[in-house]
Amino acid sequence: MRAALGLLALLAMPGHAGWGWEAALEVNSAHGPAIFPHLESANRQGVAAAGGAVAVVWEDNRSGAPRCYAAIKPATAAVFQPERALSDGECYEPVVAPLGQGRFLAAWEEAGRVHARVLPDGPPLRLSAGDAAQVTLATGNGNIHAAWAEQAGAHRRIVVAALALDGNRLALARVQPVESGLPADGQAWPALAVSGSGGVTVAWEDRRAHHTVPMASRGDAGLAFAEPLRITDQASGGMNGLGAGLGAMRPKLATWKQGTVAVWLDKRDFLSGYDVYAAFDTGSGPYTPNLRVQDSFGDSIVQWHASVVADDTRLTAVWDDARDGTSDVWLANWEGSGFSDNVAVSAASGPGDQSDPVAALDERGRLHLVWLDRRADGTRVRYARAQWK
C-alpha cells in the first residue's frame, strides 16, 4: 500500500522542465538522391528567428553547382515560403542573422570573396577586399558585425567588420583584422557574439601553435581587439617530441549574460574521437576551465557539428552523435554548474540519419532547430520549434 501511494505521489509530481517541441516542418523543396544540402558554416548560423519570423539558409547543388538558398517563414505563416537563391553564382557556407520586423541579414562566400545582403530583397554587398571564406554574422544592441577569414600573405587571418544599414542597403562602416601583423599560420572558421557594451567577441581556429587551437579576442565598439586568448585549457605540446598538441576545432560562440559561452569539438580524449566541450568568458581574464558537454553515455562515441545558443536565462548545446546506432541530434541544457543529461530531439532522432544541427533562440526564448534528415530519396532540411516547459 505504501509503495502504491509512493508511486501515485511520484506520478503526481510535475515532470522535469525541458524543451517541448512542436511538429517538424520541411524547409527545402528540391530533393533527390543526387541533391546534397549542407548546413555547414562559420559559427553554425543557418537559422535565425525574430518577431515570430524564421529564416533558414543552406547550400545545395540542385542547379548542378553549389548555390545558397534562403527560405523564410513569416510570423503568420504555418509553413516556409519557397526558397530563393541568395546570389547568382557558386555559393558556399551561408549564414543568417535576425534584423527584426521580418527582415534578416544573410552572408556567404562567392567567387572567392564574402558577401552579405538583407533578406528578403536587399542588394548584395561585397565584404572582403581579397580572397576570403567562412563568413559569419552577429546582430544585437543595434549593431551589425561580420567576420571572415581573409588571405594575408601565406595564410588567412580573421577580419571583423562593423556594418551600417540604411533601409535595405548595407555598407561597411569599419573593417579591422583582429591582429595587425601577418598570421604565422592559418586562422579559420570565425565565430562572433555581441556583448552588452556594444563590443564584439570573436573566436576562431588558430594554428600558430602548429596544431588547431580555438582562440578568442574581445573587441570594443571601435573594433580594437585585445590580445587573443586560448579557449581550451589544454597546453600545446607534442608526444615524446612528436606532434604539436591535441586537436580541437569549429568554435561556436553565443552571448551569455555579461560575457559569452563557447563550445567546440575537442579531441583531448583522442581514442573516442571528438567530444563537445564548453567554456565561459565572463568579460575579463581567461576563459573558465573547460567543461565536457555530453554525458557519460556519449563518452565513447564521437560527436560532431556542435553548436550552442543562449540568452539571459537559458543555455543549450546541440550536436549529433550515433550512440543509439544511427546519427541523431542531441542537446544538453546548462544547469548552473554543469550540463544536463543528454536528450535526443524527438523529431530529429530514431531510424535514419539526422545530423548537422543549427539552432537559434528568439527574443521570447523559443528554441529554433534545423537539421539534415538523410533519406534514400534525398536529404531534407527540417525545422522544429520548442518552448521551455
Binding site: A34, F36, H38, E40, N61, P66, Y92, D131, A133, Q134, Q151, G153, A154, H155, D185, G186, A188, W189, E205, R207, A209, H210, H211, T212, G238, M239, N240, L242, G243, A244, G245, L246, G247, M249, R250, K267, F270, L271, S272, G273, Y274, V302, W304, H305, S355
Partner: protein, 162 residues
Amino acid sequence: MKQPLLWLALFFAATTAWADPPAGYPFVDYSAGLKAARASGKPVFLYFGRYGCGWCAHTNKTTFSDPALKKLYSAHYELVYVDSESGRRVTLPSGERITEAELGVRMNAFATPLFAYLTPAGEQIVQIPGFKTVEDFRDYDRYVRGGHYKQQTLLEFLGGRP
C-alpha cells in the same frame, strides 16, 4: 598574370604546410587522387592525418621513412592525404561537395592517423586506425592489391597469413 600565379603558389604552399603527409611521398588532395585513380586504375591509399598529430608524426618517422615502403606505395597507389580538421573542399564519387573535416565525419574518422584503401572508383575496401608498422602496411598491400578483400575480411586474411 604573374601576380595571380604567385598567389596561387602561395595558397598551395600554405595549405600543404598545414598538413602533415610523410616527406617524399607524392600525396595529393582527395579530389585529385580520386581523379587520378579513375584514370590509372590504381587503388587509393588515403591517409587521414591531423595538423600537429603526434601519432601521425610517429608513423611518418618510424614507418613511412622506410625507402622500400615508399617505393611500393608510391608505385602502386594513388596517395591521398586528408587533414581531418580542414575546411578544404573535396568532391565525393557521388558528386557531393564536402570539406575534408566532413569527410572525416562520413568515414567516422574518430582517431588519427587513420588509413583507408579505396577502389579506383572510390569505394572503400578497408579502413585501419592508429599507428602501424612497415610490415603491417606490406600486409595491407597484399590484401588490397591481391584482391583478397573480395572474399575475406582483413582479420580473416591476416589470421591466415604465412
